[in-house]
Amino acid sequence: MIGGAARLSRNDRLLGAAGGFAALVVLVGFGAIVFDLFQTGTASLSIPFLVGKVENGGRAGGIGPVLISTGMILLVCLAVALPLGTGCAIWLSEFASKIRFARAITAGIDLLASVPSIVFGLFGMVFFCRTLGLGFSITSGGLTLACMILPIVIRTTLIGLSGAPSNLRPGAAALGLSRVSTIRHLLLPVAIPGVVVGTTLGISRALAETAALIFTSGYATRWPEGFDDSGRAISVHIYDLAMNVPGGAANAAASALVLLLALLFINYLATLLADRWLLKRIAPTSE
């Protein structure tokens, strides 16, 4: 792609080696953590573990209700954060005519990105649980998480949109395309990879979040019956098993492995969808 492959200079190799070393460090660090998880957790992993109910504080039984609660929290979170976040990013990038407004909003979002997760937890507890009367519930947890991942979705979408060639917009305008169709047919396809990165990062962050959820979606381990039920998210479960329950380490590691597998699947799915979508949009005639 860049530089003649035939004439890699010493500098080129040096930079490559440095980058490769950084990648190696990441792989080794990740490998060490995952190896540790496999060592303690594999023995507990089984189908009954995935679908069973939580018993004896989590030492025994499975994580079925926890998985369902986690899924529901995530659903609420994404249903709110994705449309709101992409909408905000598109407005900032395409509609904001007054620089001052755009800057104020950007500053607000940057501030939001910098709010510690535990403060989100406190805020969620007071605002969603008490003021809006949602109580300890899956909805409260999902909404709190939505606030938390909004900046990630917005920023990555913006990065995606900024990748659109700068002559695209005047070109589309010259052809008489409305802004809405310019966005739908030209800009969104460019932005989709960014949205996907934002979504996967957001999901990762949401699934990994403990501090904000303890205060909002709560601790209950029964099968959730609705969005107004309290439900324990998987990261809260892992935290409780690792920190509060003697003898919970094996099931904590197993739960963490389940979480990682789920993430792997979600990330794979997201990339797949993005590629499909891109192909359909950009080259509808090529198939």
Partner: protein, 289 residues
């Protein structure tokens, strides 16, 4: 050219979304601020919060609420983690974009995405049982600023690497062709063209990562030692603000609780000031000819 009705409706809807997103942080500031009022006002008052030498909120004899060392702990741990994370993360992204073979590119990406999703408690636990004993043999007591910085760097690295990678991907291919035409080598193209062009995207990722670092709770609490003090070296224990809130909030009674809200408020202010400084700084003109 007047915009169509469709465009106006879409613009308004998106505008509302944007203001909503921007407004949430204000909402949070107000909520946290209101809860913090008693502590700032007179119980124990702002002079005590900023002036006390120690953090002893539970002492019956002489409660003290000096939160400066704690806020400093937050800032220190962020600085010491963001530097290695940025170097390694950008290095990782460069390698992934420009050097790695295709299969490895996808593999690295998957690993980074997974790393971003490991719950902080798992990384913290790993830090406590694996990393801390190693540090303890070398520089006791092990739980320290250094341990917290390492654990945090691992946690925020994926954010830096993934956003840097996206930003590098968006660098226009024309620039690379131009660089090649000028006879620039790969390293010079990356350092002189790709990275400067992708600078804003990378910086955005670093800001996100720094925010996560200063706000990280569950992992830090396990490895930082949690002693509220000005550290003498990077191997001394420290206590960041988030750790304080996580350790004490559930157990705090009225006055102490308000103090913790004040701590959260100050933390958001400190971070907000830093972020605001970066956001409102005049963007220096990139190399565009």
């Amino acid at each position: 050219m007047s915009p169509s009705v469709n465009d106006r409706v879409a613009g308004a809807a998106l505008g509302i979304a944007a203001w909503l997103c921007g407004g949430i942080s204000l909402l949070i500031l107000i909520w946290v601020g209101v809860e913090a009022i008693p502590a700032l006002n007179n119980d124990p008052g702002i002079s005590s919060l900023l002036g006390d030498a120690h953090w002893l909120p539970g002492s019956v004899r002489e409660p003290q609420f000096g939160m400066l060392p704690i806020l400093a702990g937050s800032v220190l741990v962020t600085i010491f983690s963001i530097i290695p994370a940025t170097v390694a993360g950008v290095g990782c992204a460069v390698f992934q974009r420009f050097y790695a073979p295709k299969w490895m590119r996808t593999f690295l990406r998957r690993v980074l995405e997974l790393l971003a999703g490991i719950p902080s408690v798992v990384i913290g636990f790993w830090g406590l049982v694996v990393l801390v004993p190693i540090l303890q043999k070398w520089q006791p007591p092990g739980q320290s600023l250094a341990a917290a910085a390492i654990v945090l760097a691992i946690m925020i690295l994926p954010t830096v690497a993934l956003t840097a990678s996206t930003a590098l991907k968006n660098v226009s291919p024309g620039l690379f062709r131009a660089a090649a035409a000028l006879g620039m080598g790969r390293a010079r193209t990356i350092l002189g063209v790709a990275l400067p062009t992708a600078r804003r995207g990378i910086a955005g990722g670093v800001i996100l990562a720094a925010a996560r670092a200063i706000g990280e709770t569950m992992a830090v609490v396990m490895v930082c030692g949690n002693v509220a003090q000005w550290p003498g070296s990077i191997f001394d224990p420290i206590r960041p603000a988030t750790a304080t809130i996580a350790l004490e909030m559930s157990y705090a009674t009225a006055g102490h609780r308000s103090v913790l809200f004040a701590l959260a408020f100050f933390l958001v202010l400190v971070v907000g000031a830093a972020v605001g400084w970066i956001a409102f700084r005049k963007p220096s003109t990139p190399h565009r000819r």
